[in-house]
């Protein structure tokens, strides 16, 4: 569970997040959208205590991030940075996955077993140097290291940036699976197609303020709100809008095809 209560954050006098309040329940899958510089990454970093609110409070799994050490929060809250190279620090994929596990599991044998499971699940060669792999692979390695620790809350900052379509789907399916197993997911994304396919709730951020919060279908078809956040609607909602009230609430390919078929 994540709860922001009138949370604000200043970077050296510049206000990045202003008076943000929302509550994310266990098992939710929410996306945070908005233009570059809107404050999305700051919201993500406030969730795991990497940043402490300069006003208001942020509580994650009952821990007040102002008074709890970031290392303590990290035991149940995992974060995937926009750039995996900011995260990867070991010379082999196996060591990289074990690195996070040493802080969350005490038994070495259990850690090794979990590591093997994850290597197998993601199809990695554990002996390979992560820095000799492609950007997409490094993103998957960072995600695998995170998921190995089975955090209760996953904070994902642009998890599909730089990935091709196939890699993107692979990464998102892993995240979906983790959410289905009970993890709370908060994902910052610019990709409206990914947001509409995977998130069930969308938070809209503009100029550091939360200007929208609701179910995905509702937010993705609210053109006025998206426009205020400088976000263009995805193609299917944009297409539906061209037909006035004919296709209300339609935002996926299947919904559109069904709606067209019903009208024939």
């Amino acid at each position: 569970m994540i709860e922001f209560q009138n949370a604000s954050f200043n970077y050296a006098g510049e206000q990045a997040v202003r008076d943000v309040s929302f509550r994310l329940e266990k098992g939710e899958f929410a996306a945070v959208i908005g233009e570059n510089g809107a404050g999305k990454t700051t919201v993500a970093k406030l969730c795991n205590g990497l940043l402490k609110p300069t006003a208001g409070t942020v509580c994650v799994n009952g821990m007040d991030t102002r008074t709890t050490r970031a290392s303590r929060i990290a035991r149940s809250v995992g974060i995937l940075f926009q750039n995996p190279d900011m995260q990867i620090c070991q010379n082999t994929i196996r060591e990289e996955i074990l690195f996070g596990l040493q802080y969350t599991m005490d038994d070495p044998a259990e850690r090794a077993r979990r590591c093997d499971e994850v290597l197998c699940e993601f199809g990695f060669d554990g002996g390979r140097n992560p820095f000799s792999t492609s950007r997409g692979e490094r993103q998957r390695i960072a995600l695998a290291s995170l998921m190995a620790c089975r955090p209760e809350v996953l904070i994902l900052d642009e998890p599909t940036t730089g990935l091709d379509y196939r890699e993107c789907m692979e990464v998102m399916e892993k995240i979906r699976l983790s959410n289905e197993r009970g993890a709370t997911v908060m994902m910052v994304s610019h990709d409206m197609e990914i947001v509409q396919d995977f998130a069930r709730r969308v938070l809209v951020v503009a100029d550091g303020e939360l200007i929208g919060d609701g179910p995905t279908g509702e937010i993705m078809t609210d053109v006025e709100l998206l426009s205020r956040a400088s976000v263009a609607p995805a193609q299917i909602p944009a297409l539906a809008l061209r037909f006035g009230d004919m296709f209300p609430g339609v935002f996926t390919v299947r919904q559109m095809a069904d709606a067209i078929e019903r009208r024939l």
Binding site: G162, D164, Y165, E167, H190, E193, I236, L239
Partner: protein
């Protein structure tokens, strides 16, 4: 302007060829998009155009690559950089200065641009990218998107005849991505610059480029106008490339036997398709 003839390249130590019998001709003033899955050879293609391959990344190089009549083996990256401006995927690896203005000045001064011209070029590049307000900012304080624009502005200031960009909108939001492509369109149409852009965002490519190349296994699998390439929706899927959602809608309507026409690439085209189906 660009001619690749049976080009093959294998990175030193690699087992597979990154480019395999690649043949390609791009005329002056074309606006070309390149798409494909990871490992398809897209980035290596950009390296072949600016001489980074094989001059920086060595390996087995067979065939011939020419840019503006220059053989890239003979010319080398320094000579080629007078013609080809490159924006790499890793922009942090491209930045050399700590202040935005200095980043642009670095290239201009090293290219020996006359002093009286420098100010004008600097202002033009910043304005084209819409980042005049960032001129005195420290690069370390910029967002990923802002840094991407600075990297492009630094190249645009050099007025290259060919602009090669490797995923220039990777870290940009949709609005900024559109701004970058509007800028590329302007450079292509107003300055006659040949633009080759590797991009994963198929919808942007569909909207802006006039020619689309789908790469796979180190060669061009599909090459044609956007409309022609999209007619191969299944082949695109097999190449690990997504199609625009409106194209997927056409695929779904065809599967249900409701539509038999061509695949739309944009929302207006899809609107015409839906009206046709409903008529």
């Amino acid at each position: 302007m660009i001619r690749l003839h049976n080009l093959n390249f294998k990175y030193r130590g690699a087992t597979d060829f990154a480019l395999a019998d690649m043949n390609l001709e791009i005329g002056e003033g074309e606006f070309v998009g390149v798409i494909g899955s990871s490992g398809a050879g897209k980035t290596t293609l950009t390296y072949a155009l600016n001489g980074v391959v094989p001059h920086y990344y060595g390996g087995d190089f067979y065939g011939r690559a020419e840019v503006n009549g220059l053989d890239t083996i003979e010319a080398g990256p320094a000579k080629l950089s007078e013609i080809v401006g490159s924006v790499f995927q890793d922009i942090d690896g491209q930045m050399v200065a700590s202040i935005v203005e200095d980043e642009l000045l670095f290239g201009l001064e090293n290219f020996g641009v006359p002093r009286k011209e420098i100010g004008e070029r600097l202002a033009m590049a910043l304005e084209t990218l819409g980042i005049s307000d960032l001129r005195d900012r420290a690069i370390a304080t910029l967002s990923g998107g802002q840094k991407q624009k600075v990297a492009i502005a630094a190249i645009v200031a050099l007025k290259p005849r060919v602009l090669v960009l490797d995923e220039p909108t990777g870290e940009l939001d949709p609005k900024s991505s559109v701004q970058v492509f509007e800028m590329l369109k302007k450079l292509n149409e107003d300055f006659g610059m040949t633009v080759v852009v590797v991009e994963q965002k198929i919808m942007l490519l569909c909207e802006y480029v006039r020619r689309l190349i789908v790469m796979g296994g180190g060669r061009a699998l599909l090459d044609g106008t956007v409309r022609d390439v999209l007619q191969n929706a299944e082949a695109l899927g097999a190449a690990g490339v997504s199609v625009p959602r409106v194209t997927s809608l056409a695929v779904e309507l065809k599967r249900r036997g409701l539509y038999a026409g061509s695949y739309p690439a944009s929302v207006p085209e899809a609107e015409r398709m839906v009206r046709e189906v409903l008529a």
